[in-house]
Symmetry: C2
Subunit: 121 residues, 2 copies
DNA sequence: AGCTTATTCAACCAAACGGTTGACAGGCCG
DNA sequence: CGGCCTGTCAACCGTTTGGTTGAATAAGCT
């Protein structure tokens, strides 16, 4: 199996699974309740829930013969940490670039239009 | 093709691709430069970059015969928005649950130990 | 023009994915 | 006890994924 971060991202790459997570933010629910709105079989949803469970996004209880599914929101922090870390670095880099460009624009009088949006765009 | 959010999550579900993104927060780089540290073929990295590009995480320029790869950090906001939205909802729900539990504990004197951690755990 | 470098395209392969149907295990309830 | 839910396991199927090698395209360099 892959590392947890990979599993979390992979789990949320599927729209059905994202929808399941979204619905679980409202309330815990049993597998059948969760499966009801979709057109696929209960087994398919059971598999989706297993993926979410393996990623640590969800846990299952045991009430009578049902297994209420519960969202574990803490795992979101794992993603947020990764995303924020690199977003911050990327932004710092742009800030640095902006500074360099500003300096260049300062030293050299109106030469070329500032290539703030480079060859792409 | 799937929606962009799915493509972004799927793109970041691979450790090699996450590493590419991480390295691109430092500086733009050509395909060959990016491929150098890994043990796989350049073609494999080219494919990874295509996945990142299709997800909108990355764009390619054209300098001479090289195609410098550039990180598009804005797409991160798409994920952050999704994550924060549902994290917030989940947290609100816990707050509500806490309130309910507090009220119950208030009305009923020491009856059962508060089931703050339910059947799971 | 002709060679070289950088990158992608194409065909192929094994493994994983998302779905199906059918069988089976656990726990209620008449 | 016997049946009925609820949920999972197993086998199967078509598609996607991540990798390979080999050929093709594009833009310098001499």
């Amino acid at each position: 199996m892959a590392d947890q971060l990979s599993r979390v991202f992979a789990a949320l790459a599927d729209p059905t699974r994202r929808d399941l997570v979204a619905r679980l933010t409202v309330a815990d629910a049993t597998v059948n309740e969760l499966a009801e709105p979709y057109e696929v079989s209960v087994q398919a949803i059971s598999k989706h829930l297993k993926v979410l469970e393996d990623a640590g996004l969800v846990t299952k209880g045991r009430v009578a013969q049902t297994r209420p599914v519960h969202l574990e929101a803490e795992v979101f922090d794992l993603m947020t940490a990764w995303i924020e870390r690199y977003r911050r670095r990327a932004e710092q880099r742009y800030r640095r670039l902006d500074a360099v460009l500003a300096e260049i624009a300062d030293q050299t009088p109106p030469r070329t239009p500032p290539p703030t949006e480079g060859p792409r765009a």
